[in-house]
């Protein structure tokens, strides 16, 4: 399986994602923001970082680059797309997933391990978890507070992927920290599965995100 890893100026989790993909036997390839044709890839990952210095809003400038056309094309062809952290913010800015990830409730950068519940297993990335399972992954963001005025639609349509357990560190609506599109193939999560992909890192709970993709 060939997976494109999208790079913008300011991306910084690209190599971690490459490594996590390698662990599950996927062939990762870096793609620069100016590339429009992504047809050779089976799936795409938008890694975390601070694309364009988070100017304007996190993800806003990345959301208008040529590579986004390629991502939209891939989505039309039913290929899985995962956005992690800044990647999730970008997918929300583009409108490929509903809602927005905005400034944390306490206006602070939060970098810590958190427990979260897998709310749906219908996405390729969560297909190997059990629904309701609690997993441990790190978060690292200042703009991760999920907001969506149509929260009931989101729940009715099974578009909530992850939510924090026991607390709500960034003030997200209903503690939601991962959402997907209607089909469940485009997945946007604030926590970093790639940083929880080997037990030496503190947890390998996130590895199933990538294993699930291979399995898909």
């Amino acid at each position: 399986m060939k997976v494109g890893i999208i790079r913008f100026p300011g991306s910084n989790c690209d190599r971690d994602v490459f490594h996590a993909l390698e662990l599950v036997g996927c062939e990762g390839e870096y793609i620069w923001w100016s590339q429009r044709d992504l047809s050779k890839f089976d799936a795409l990952v938008i890694p975390g970082g601070f694309s364009y210095g988070d100017y304007l809003r996190a993800g806003a400038i990345a959301a208008i680059t040529p590579v986004i056309d390629g991502i939209k094309e891939a989505v039309k062809e039913d290929k899985p797309v995962l956005g992690i952290c800044n990647g999730a913010q970008i997918l929300a800015e583009v409108g490929l997933v509903p809602g927005v990830f905005t400034l944390n409730e306490k206006a602070q950068f939060i970098c810590q391990w958190e427990e979260m519940e897998v709310k749906t297993t219908r996405t390729p990335f969560t297909s190997l978890y059990k629904k309701g399972e609690t997993i441990k992954m790190p978060i690292a963001h200042a703009e991760g507070r999920y907001y969506n005025p149509q929260i009931e639609d989101l729940k009715d349509q099974d578009q909530v992927v992850l939510s924090f357990v026991g607390k709500n560190p960034n003030g997200s609506i209903e503690a939601i920290t991962g959402v997907c599109d209607l089909e469940g193939r485009v997945c946007a999560v604030m926590p970093h599965p790639e940083r929880a992909s080997e037990s030496i890192l503190g947890s390998d709970d996130g590895l199933k995100f990538f294993k699930g993709l291979v399995n898909y």
Binding site: L56, R57, A60, I61, I64, E93, G99, V100, T102, L103, N104, E105, K106, A107, R145, Y147, N148, P149, G171
Partner: protein, 84 residues
């Protein structure tokens, strides 16, 4: 003709504004008990257009496509002749 555009972006009514509440708490530390603190973002630039209506229309498109996120933001556009 050249026009000077000013876009003022604010959060929609009822949206949480963590920056404003932090500023308000800091002002309270200095014993200024202010209320209803808001922060706004202003973006200014010059552009070429045939008339102010055309300039406004173009800036409105910029707001919808990049400068604002319609889920959380309201915006106001001010257009003046000149490039200063």
């Amino acid at each position: 003709m050249k026009y000077r555009a000013e876009v003022t972006i604010g959060l929609k009514k009822g949206m949480l504004n963590p920056e404003a509440s932090t500023i308000q708490r800091a002002l309270a530390l200095l014993e200024y008990p202010v209320e209803d603190t808001k922060t706004l973002e202003i973006i200014k630039f010059s552009l070429e257009a045939n008339n102010p209506e055309e300039a406004r229309e173009e800036v409105d498109q910029m707001c919808q496509r990049l400068l604002c996120n319609p889920i959380i933001h309201d915006y106001q556009i001010n257009i003046k002749p000149g490039d200063g």
